[in-house]
Amino acid sequence: MTACREPASVLIERLSNGETTSLELTEACLAEITSHDGAVGAFLHVAGDSARQAAESIDRRRAAGEPLGRLAGLPVAVKDVLVTRDQPTTCGSRMLEGWTPPYDAHTVEKLRDADAVLIGKTNMDEFAMGSTTENSAFGPTRTPWQLDCVAGGSSGGSAAAVSAGFAPLAVGSDTGGSIRQPASFCGVVGLKPSYGRVSRYGLVAYASSLDQVGPFARDVAGAAMLLEVLAGHDRRDGTSVDQPVPPYGQQLEKPVDGLRIGICPDHFGDGLDPEVREAVERALDIYRGLGADVQEIELPHSRFAVACYYLVAPSEASSNLARYDGIHYGRRTDDHDGLVEMYSNSRGAAFGTEVKRRIMLGTYALSAGYYDAYYLKAQKVRRLIQQDYSQAFADVDVIASPVAPTPAVRLGQLTDDPLQMYLADAYTISANLAGLPGVSIPAGFSQDGRPIGLQLLANAFTEDRLLRAAAMHERETDWHLATPTFAGDAC
């Protein structure tokens, strides 16, 4: 097993007691990327030179006894939706190909402050719209477990990078499941924080009221460690919450006393893959075995979640993506006859199909005569969904469910049918609509070896309890210890 496949906490330990150096770790990750990323497609940009320089500098500072950040020397991969001043930022789109932003996202600043080694930018569905990473303009990301299957999305690159051992930690973003679902498809831990827990400053917006940045790791402790670095108040994001960040990593060993788990029967209906159902039920049994009380809850409006989401998110997206007009940054086509055509042709040429589809949907939903029936109605339903959850969390600590109806699908399997693809988000999008934290943890494999995740949702700003509940399951299982083997890979 290569060094990078060790959990982050183990690597931090080895770095601090001198068993390894940041440069060694970084080189090991870069070597893995060189060997295998051609097949996986996790990275859009590998920052080999600057990563080595950063690693060397951290090693020097460590040797000199200087104080170091919490992730000192650890390679971290960053989804290409976060702006970085020294690395290109494309959002998986031709629109931004070649653009290097003049500023860093808040979370990127936080990573630098924590002395993480930024190893590269990861692949994603274009502007985070999709759940397979096949909507990337630069080719899909495959799950390292089965290279003919997708890594999930939209943060497929980050999930695959951690799974494949390209980086022990990675950052993604989640608007409707874009961290949790690829975490499930790639067999890693992925957490979407409460809305407002992590600053969105420098996160290229898809749907502003739903987007959150969050961690990927090989285990719960790694996710807790990275979340601790990413979270916190930022004056530049009005929606970021000014609440102290608890030491998520410190209490993981402590089980949640009398853990109450809610399950919603709607989540186990038709369309759920039997192997996924089995994995989730097995996980629930594990919790029961630990003394947890598993009870049925009602989420009466959850059947509206997909419809609500696919109005709210595209509406906001149609507005957020209007700025890509070929004037101040991004692509401009030379093929035009005047300003209006320049806009249309530039946008028409540089955006991919899914992005166009959602811009169209959102523009329609906001247009005169339709606003009340679509956008406004969706906002009202959104409140009902949020109320369902606050009522449910009066009785339970977490809600357990599948992450996705199936394990990773084959490439091309869903891309022809947008509505089917949207429906596959049913388990994850409510957390975004209601602003709740959610985590996907490894919970098994299909018979043919594709990972299956378990989703736990908790009440807003109770990430500490959510992580502790997740760690309870992790301690009883070893799904998170499994690693994919590439064809021809010696380990």
Partner: protein
């Protein structure tokens, strides 16, 4: 779309003209195959979201964002600006002072 357009959601009945109109509004150049594809697909999605009509939202306040906090303000204190070079660095066309765009022809003399 004009104000006079039907206020009834057209579930599953999106026309080609609707698609072209929306594309114009969104400044989104679509080729013929996309127009055709979207007419069907968007109609299908709009048909699906019609399910929301089943939700009783009588008296329900719309929820615009997951956070319902208010009053996040900044002080009127200067922050850092970019240099002009930085500001122009991503622009497809500029003359080192200004962003350049095709002529903005919004006037025509009487």
């Amino acid at each position: 779309m004009s104000e006079t357009h039907s206020a009834e959601p057209s579930h599953g009945q999106l026309t080609r003209e609707d698609v072209l109109k929306v594309a114009r509004l969104a400044r989104l150049g679509l080729d013929e195959s996309e127009v055709e594809e979207f007419t069907g697909q968007l109609g299908q999605v709009l048909g699906y979201v019609g399910i929301l009509e089943e939700a009783d939202t009588e008296g329900v306040e719309p929820l615009a964002g997951a956070s319902e906090r208010t009053d996040v303000l900044r002080e009127d204190e200067p922050g850092e600006s970019l240099t002009r070079d930085q500001a122009l660095s991503g622009a497809p066309r500029h003359d080192d002072r200004f962003f350049l765009v095709p002529p903005v022809l919004d006037t025509s003399a009487e």
